[in-house]
């Protein structure tokens, strides 16, 4: 894994006089040269619109764009590329399900079940859908250590439940959720599941057929791909019955003055000129992840988290949120340092070249559950090392000393 850093040019710089230690990959990951080169090559040689030109560049662009879709299909083991829809990112993917599936299938008195650990992107679409349809929004309560118990899941999901939306891995607690088992319980009750895999896809292998989820969403930019591209996976049977939510070019079949028909899957959900370069870049990111191996990435992150938690505990005065057992969590650690507000901590670390996240992490209901208004978060990826953890922990000690002793 130590070799991997060389593929990430952005890491090779100083910030505020110190080598950059990037610990904010849960917000967005850095991009390897393999992805950057594909983007450059596309714009320099192949740039053209897709699915319409007879000309050679148009064909090349279309081939690369659709080729990337096949890479994504394989990456999550979907049945067919008809089930892979390009979107702007996880947020758009989930909103599409809420609007296109939710409004047609959720009625007054029905239940939508989510958890208290959802990112706003897998929270507000359901909250608003419940409001519009006069449905009941229910929450799977969390265990004390920030995990989900299947017992609680069974008690929360009922035959009235139509949609269960849950994250694969929490962007705050780091908890990895039993999405396969939750899907099974949902299906037993006649509900469908929507899995937010924004923090899952970059870090662990996904098999949508094994999980048997109905929808799954993720973003390219958190998994070494460009920003502005994401994926919505949906079972073909659902997607076929759903009406598009965006109308215009690219998604139509025949257009008459007073009515129109739609293209077949997946294009009926891709109105307008798509993010062609983004899709091709995401394909390159997936090639890169496959080359490194998601199992290797997950193993490396577990080692870093285990090491970091042990080192952080030695500092003293640090509260770590979420399960302490590294095997139950993904590669991020959310925490607070006594007497130092997370923003102040983030500034001290930034002065040392260390980038962490501070704030509510787009999960305000979870912050309420944790009973804090803000937290700090360090998140790791394949390019981080034990030396990064050491620099980070040294920064924590410095912040502690500065705020508690200097003043």
């Amino acid at each position: 894994m130590n070799d991997i850093r060389k593929y990430f040019p952005v890491l090779n710089q100083e910030v505020n006089g110190h080598p950059l230690v990037y610990l904010d990959s849960a917000a967005t990951s850095q991009k390897p040269t393999q992805v950057l080169e594909v983007l450059k090559k596309y714009y320099e040689f192949d740039n053209s619109n897709v699915h319409r030109g007879v000309h050679t560049l148009g064909n090349r662009a279309t081939d690369s764009y659709e080729g990337a879709r096949e890479k994504i299909r394989k990456f999550i083991n979907a049945n067919s590329t008809e089930e892979i829809i390009y979107t702007r990112g996880t947020t758009t993917s989930i909103n599409t399900v809420a609007a296109a599936y939710g409004r047609a299938n959720v009625n007054e008195g029905d239940e939508i079940v989510i958890t208290k650990m959802e990112h706003h992107s897998n929270f507000i679409p359901w909250q608003q859908l419940a409001k519009q349809q006069k449905a009941v929004l229910k929450f799977i309560e969390l265990e004390e250590d920030g995990t989900i118990s299947l017992e609680t899941v069974r008690k929360t999901i009922t035959p009235k439940t139509k949609i269960v939306a849950v994250t694969m891995a929490s962007n705050v607690l780091g908890t990895i959720n039993p999405v396969k088992e939750i899907t099974e319980i949902a299906h037993e009750n006649g509900a469908i599941t929507v899995i937010d895999a924004a923090q899952g896809a970059p870090h662990m292998p996904i098999d949508v057929q094994d999980i048997d989820c109905d929808f799954l969403a993720f973003s390219g930019h958190k998994m070494c791909g460009p920003t502005g591209i994401g994926v919505l996976y949906g079972k073909k049977a659902h997607l076929e019955n759903m009406e598009p939510i965006e109308f215009g070019g690219e998604m139509i079949d025949f257009v008459d003055l007073y009515d129109s028909t739609w293209k077949e899957l997946p294009w009926k959900f891709e109105g307008g000129t798509p993010n062609i370069a983004g899709a091709i870049g995401l394909g390159a990111a997936i090639d890169f992840l496959n080359e490194i191996g998601l199992e290797n990435i997950a193993k490396h992150e577990h080692e870093l988290v285990e090491y970091a938690i042990a080192e952080m505990e030695k500092v003293g005065g640090i509260s770590i949120y979420g399960p302490l057992d590294p095997s139950k969590r993904c590669g991020l650690i959310t925490f607070n340092l006594d007497g130092v507000h997370p923003h102040d901590l983030a500034t001290v670390l930034d002065m040392n070249g260390i980038a962490i996240r501070a704030g509510h992490h787009c999960a305000q209901p979870l912050m309420k559950w944790l009973q804090c208004t803000a937290t700090a978060r360090a998140s790791f990826y394949m390019y981080n090392s034990k030396e990064d953890v050491d620099a980070f922990v040294a920064g924590l000690r410095m912040a502690k000393e500065y705020f508690n002793d200097v003043f």
């Binding site: 923003h343 102040d344 001290v348 509510h360 305000q364 500065y402 003043f407």
Partner: protein
């Protein structure tokens, strides 16, 4: 690194206001009340102002946030208390210029507020410092309408 860079931002007078905030609390409900937050980071301020005949007679704040946002709120209430509404608004303007690193009028004695000058060198923290001042501006303007 040394603490030198940090000392540009975290002056001891700032930490003093953070650890011992002045005018902390809330005036009763007959006064002007403003609640503002910084949605990107979760900082929150609840400001109450007692304004009579164009004069800010009293000011109290409550809230949660980092040392910069809370010390700025403390200093702001201190400096506007007893000032005319117009002067309070001009002070807000001066403060915003200070945060942008622009020249500002030396018409007023800014007191402890001057210690926040260093924030202008930390762009990510300017919003922390201006929250309380934005709340004050909104409150004063609402009252003067």
């Amino acid at each position: 690194m040394s603490f030198n860079n940090l000392d540009q931002l975290y002056r001891s007078v700032i930490m003093d206001h953070y650890k011992k905030p002045r005018n902390k609390g809330s005036l009763d409900e007959n006064n002007v009340t403003i609640d503002m937050n910084n949605p990107t980071c979760g900082d929150r301020i609840h400001l109450t102002l007692k304004i009579n005949d164009g004069l800010v007679e009293d000011a109290k704040f409550d809230g949660e946030g980092c040392s910069i946002s809370m010390s700025s709120a403390s200093m702001m209430t201190e400096v506007i208390k007893g000032k005319k509404v117009d002067d309070a608004l001009q002070l807000a303007d001066i403060f915003s210029k200070m945060m942008l690193g622009e020249d500002y009028s030396d018409k007023y004695d800014l007191g402890d507020v001057e210690a926040l000058q260093g924030v202008s060198k930390f762009p990510a923290r300017i919003k922390c410092a201006t929250l309380a001042w934005k709340a004050m501006e909104r409150g004063v303007q609402a009252e003067s309408k």
